[in-house]
């Protein structure tokens, strides 16, 4: 469990992560207008914060690869699977704790109710896994931090655009919606929509399932062993 423990410690040492983790959510959770039912953008903004947090957490795996530390780690009796699994688990735990804190504060302020809170936590956590897996796959494609960041900022803008952050997904025309469906953000939006409408039907579970499938695909791609 050494890798798990230190992945935890390392993440908490980085300032950018801490800001993304704790300052931003607290900053938005107290802005009342974001959480009214007719203007529920706050839920989605929080999703974007999770996405950024996941990206900056997974960055440490890429840094290990670029600095050559991964050579050292694989020279130790550690399997690739163990290394990735324990790292991602630690990251997920950090985000998980944050979502719980966030939802608890939100419930206290805006009276979300137990069932909605549980569903929110589930949605956000599965989205966190998808974001972590996406970041892993993303970072495995690049060898330069600058390049990775620059293109990521484009992709995330498109995700925000088509995933319901700027425009509610119900307003999207069909062909844009079908592009949007290729991003996990769309499905987070979708699930949140049905939570806000207090409609506990199949659509909610479907969104969860699709996010899960996205995670599986990204993980399969991103978990290939790379030394350089």
């Amino acid at each position: 469990m050494t890798i798990f423990l230190f992945a935890f410690i390392r993440s908490l040492r980085r300032k950018s992560t801490l800001v993304a983790m704790f300052v931003l959510p607290l900053a938005i959770v107290f802005i009342r207008t974001l959480w009214t039912l007719e203007n529920g953008r706050g839920f989605l903004f929080y999703g974007m914060i999770i996405m950024f947090a996941a990206f900056s957490l997974v960055r440490s795996i890429m840094i290990d690869r670029m600095t050559g530390t991964v050579v050292r780690i694989f020279a130790a009796p550690v399997a690739t699977f163990q290394y990735l699994f324990q790292n991602l688990l630690a990251f997920w735990l950090i985000i998980g704790v944050q979502t719980i804190v966030f939802v608890v504060i939100g419930s206290a302020l805006y009276g979300w109710g137990i069932e909605m809170a549980v569903r929110l936590i589930l949605s956000y956590n599965i989205f966190a896994v998808a974001s972590l897996a996406f970041s892993l796959a993303w970072n495995s494609m690049f060898r330069s931090k600058v390049m990775s960041d620059a293109i990521f900022s484009i992709i995330i803008s498109l995700m925000a655009l088509l995933g319901g952050i700027f425009i509610p997904i119900s307003m999207l025309p069909d062909f844009l919606r079908k592009i949007g469906m290729l991003f996990p953000t769309y499905w987070l939006s979708n699930s949140l929509l049905f939570i806000q409408d207090k409609e506990w039907n199949g659509q909610y579970w479907l969104s969860i399932l699709i996010m899960f499938l996205f995670s599986a695909a990204f993980l399969l791609y991103g978990s290939k062993r790379r030394l350089e």
Binding site: F175, I210, A216, S223
Partner: protein, 360 residues
Amino acid sequence: MGKSMSLHEKIFIVYRMMGMLLLYILWTKTGSDVAGLFLLLSLLILMLFRWRFPKLKWTLIIDQLVVISISFLWGNSQYILALGVFEAAYLGCPLFALPSVFYTVLYNPEGFLFLLLTQSAFAGIALWGWSKQQESAFRNMDEERRRYYETESLKQELLAANVQMVRMVELSERSRIAREIHDDAGHEIVAAYMSLQTVQALFETDAVEAEEMFCEAIERLGSGICKIREAVHNLTPLTEIGVAALHRLSDRFSHCPINFTVYGDTSKVSAYLWVILEACLKEALTNVMRHADAKIVRATLDITPCIVRLCVENDGVRKNSYFTAGLGLRNLQQRAAAVGGNISTSIAESFRLVCVLPIL
């Protein structure tokens, strides 16, 4: 760091990507919302799964079962069965395409789907044939390479045996010379020596006989010297070997001025080393001619108690930037390795060859 992909693998991947893209377009144009996405995602996951674990080919059946079940929700999805058939054919396990075949026969026996599946099957088979052909070509290449390595090691052994042989020949020749000198010249000289001893004793008593014997002794000595001369003459090889051969090579080199210097005692170097050194010099000079605009070539032969070292270098600039160890050089390197030596070349600024061989 992985193995580079061969062309048919690339075509395989592109074909599948095209299939997925077409399915996606079909979905955006026609399809039911989520069933299509679910299908796309599952196919992608299974594809990635087989990329990570290439041995689990049977997962192809899952692919097709997913497609078939979705096709009841979204009819158009059945066309993507073509991809499964294609992959099964390419991977060389046509049995895994059976679900598609059954589905087509049961639900859509003479429609467009049938045509599509047949086409994909043919495409897959063609690609499979290609991959098999290439595989066998690779196997042949491997076999060739293995044989090449075997030949190479055999050559190493032969070269080692050769060295052994040269030493044996040297020894037997040495003993033959010893015998010849001992038997012929030695005999005469010993006889002369004995005669002279007798002469010494006879000087006081019998001067006449002493003179007679003295003459005889001189004659015998003369004959002995003659025999030695003969033996030495017979021993001198007709072609030059040793340092003389190297000198001759450098003298004949007309491409540019050459400066050949020798340090140390050349007599310590055995004949079989001279052969290698000569070949080295020849090879180096050829390379200088071919690869460099040399103004002057320096060749140095150093002989120390333990090693003999030949260094050939030119001061000129190289002509063409790339240089690979040619067959001649590789051969030489093996011959040097067989006697425990080493040849190294560099072309950093000028051409340089260094050959170091141990003296036993």
